[in-house]
Symmetry: C2
Subunit: 459 residues, 2 copies
């Protein structure tokens, strides 16, 4: 019997218990950024703990020192003869369900319709996480070989993983592992499995220019007082060169350009300009325009303005010279860029290029987390490719992901493990949106992946 | 008996009636931008009409075609033998009294305390306007010589004079005059009378860049999608050169540089950089920095950003690429710049310099009104200097005003009259602010000015 039918037949046999476990988690509005839901987070960790104890894991629940102390679950199960140690990361928190009116079924009452379970978190990440854990249970129940497994599950992924990132250095020894498994991503648009070969890091900074002490009459003072809205425009314009590349001295020093193979593979999965425009509403003309768009998103850092505000924003004119202007920046970082260094380069640049007449200040500084990238020829990717070929004969694609899961690089660093991010999300799952769902087929797919990759790692 | 004592003795003799007339106007919350107060505006024009009829003016009240049809009063009184025709402009509308809590006395209950009348509009412009009209009445009552007088009073000055500006071309023949008298400005800081030798014009434009159809995830799309917040920064930065001068081709073509004499006189009244910083909170480093600040404000145009907004402006980070970014611009114009031309130059520049990836659009376009400037050696200024020397032996200063009274240039154009703007406001009057006031002494000063200048023009 092949593994596909093993996972499927295990699911079919235990369907009632598996769904009950999953639904019990989905019923809890585990909003990790909202203190009102700390109780729900505690209940979720209790359910997960009970489940892991039933598989003979040693389990500890840690309350991190954070403004919102959302519990973190750490578990470990040593296999009899295994040399390999796997670290599995998942999160039980979810995005808010707003706007609730837009849901066809109540967001915290999981509802099975036509083979899909509808609920907030049905996919992200309760669905994929529970399915992966059920894969572990299937292996254990069957007596198949299994590696040492360490698990960390948290409730702040959707709001920055601050608690876990802060705690991570203290967990370094406990979480030493060979492979870091994360099941929180998606397949390729054509349904082929995807290996996430990189994630970008992220950091944040808000910059403010102050001119006059208060908004001035732009007639009396126009051409005399420095205008912070104009000053910040000039300052932000200095961050990029004419061709869209980053102009901040030192910012890009550490980056390793992609290999020819990586460029070719990224280009293969690149959306055409026309298709991008049809989907998004504009051509992909951000970033360094000479480079292919998939290469820009996957292998190069960004400095993006996420918010910009100064002066009057109501209807109609108001002729003022604003007292201040602010820009919220976020930086996506690629491997070898050090968060402290990029932040320093950026602040130096902004200070140096600040036009005359203004006082510059920085706030909301989040040094953040670095990115990770593994070469496509990494042994762990080769192993994953073989496993994924068993599941889909076309084999996997590689995805150099522009987004960030900040905690991944942190866990990579403290555990020494090679990150292996494979997930089975689809566009139609509508994560973060109303009517999020996950199909039973996808759930079984994750179970399959879990059993196959763990079996392959059990040596 | 000299004229000072003439105005003062007339005031003293008729104090009761003069104050009653003024107070009756001050009691009306004539908010010209608020349809709820159209009734108060109508009541104000009725009071003014009755007063003018008592002086044998022919009076007409016109309801302009405007969204808020605030009545305009047109009056005319031909003198027996006078060759000179004076056009007097005033406005009976006021700024809102908010925040009302900050007033020590109710804003629409005029209250006399220590020789000052406290009320919204006490100075701007009901106080100066009524005082000027009482000067006319004093002259008429005394049988002194007087020029032909035309009067236009409106209720939308504080909100742009749209009704009057629209109506003005039709009034051209009726309002032909030699001198346009406006009493809506202030003395020099040291109390010397000031002749406003120029005002800047004003126009407005909002520019919007659209990138994607909706806010995008700045990880997935960062470096791929064009970011409108960054695009608008680059676009706005292109409006000025490094030294602060305007970089828009054609925008400055028509401007006439100030004469050496004007520059010298403007420099004389210029505030020191240190004093400016102490008052405003920053050095006067806006505009073309090589030029003296008083010259920049008085003789050069500006393109100012009054509002700038894009993306996330709440607390903390939100990692989006905003769908749009907008900037509200206002331009101050100097004589010979044509509003249609500057607007066209600016729109061409913005369109031409729009970075790739964005759709640019314009809204809230107000072509506005041009500026005016008379040379200091103009005959009307010589006459005014002589009159003002009678009132203050130091004589007047000239002020090249950076602000705008949009209707002045319009009235200058349609009437053919030379503008003569002299007013007796002081910083302590706190116009537009809570606890606005006007002293009885200033009121009498305006009456003096009115009687003296009209007598001087009666030939």
């Amino acid at each position: 019997m092949n593994s596909t039918s093993f996972a499927k037949s295990y699911f079919d046999k235990n369907q009632h218990f598996i769904l009950e476990e999953w639904y019990n988690l989905l019923k809890l509005p585990t909003l990790g950024a909202d203190t009102d839901h700390l109780g729900d987070c505690a209940r979720a960790t209790a359910i997960l703990k009970k489940f892991l104890l039933s598989m003979n894991f040693a389990v500890e629940i840690i309350t991190p020192e954070d403004e919102i102390p959302v519990p973190i679950l750490i578990a470990e199960r040593a296999a009899a003869d295994a040399g390999t140690t796997v670290l599995f990361y998942g999160h039980y928190d979810v995005q808010p369900a707003t706007p609730v009116d837009a849901w066809n079924t109540p967001p915290f009452e999981p509802t099975l319709i036509d083979g899909r379970v509808y609920a907030r978190g049905a996919q992200d990440n309760k669905g994929q996480m529970v399915a992966f854990l059920q894969g572990i249970k299937a292996l254990i129940d069957s007596g198949k070989p299994i590696p040492n497994i360490k698990i960390v599950m948290e409730g702040q992924e959707e709001s920055g993983s601050f608690g876990l990132i802060k705690l991570a250095p203290d967990l370094s020894q406990r979480l030493q592992a060979d492979v870091l498994l994360v099941c929180d991503t998606s397949c390729a648009p054509d349904g082929r499995p995807a290996i996430i070969s990189s994630l970008r890091g992220i950091q944040n900074l808000t910059v403010t220019l102050k001119g006059p002490d208060y908004d001035l009459h732009s007639g009396t003072h126009g051409g005399v007082a420095p205008n912070p809205a104009q000053g910040i425009a000039r300052l932000l314009a200095s961050l990029h060169n004419e061709n869209g590349s980053i102009a901040v001295q030192g910012f890009n020093d550490a980056i390793a350009p992609p290999s020819r193979e990586e460029i070719e593979m990224a280009r293969c999965s690149q959306q055409s300009d026309e298709s991008y425009k049809a989907e998004i509403g504009c051509l992909p003309q951000g970033g360094e325009r000479e480079l292919p768009s998939a290469v820009r998103a996957g292998f190069y850092p960004t400095i993006e303005v996420n918010g910009l505000f100064s002066g009057h924003y109501g209807t109609g004119p108001k002729t003022v010279i604003p007292a201040t202007a602010s820009a919220k920046l976020s930086m996506r970082l690629v491997p070898y860029q050090k968060t402290a260094d990029t932040l320093k380069s950026l602040q130096s640049h902004l200070t140096k290029h600040c036009p005359p007449g203004f006082t510059i200040s920085f706030s909301e500084i989040i040094e953040g987390a670095p990115g990770f990238r593994l070469p496509v020829e990494s042994p762990i990717f080769k192993l994953a490719e073989d496993v994924l070929k068993e599941m889909d004969e076309r084999g996997p694609v590689f995805k150099w992901e522009g987004a960030s899961i900040p905690v991944v690089a942190t866990l990579q660093n403290i555990s020494g493990a090679a990150p292996l991010l494979v997930g089975f999300g689809r566009e139609e799952d509508k994560i973060h949106c109303p009517n999020e769902s996950f199909s039973i087929d996808q759930f079984i797919q994750v179970m399959e992946w879990s059993t196959l990759i763990l079996e392959a790692l059990a040596f």
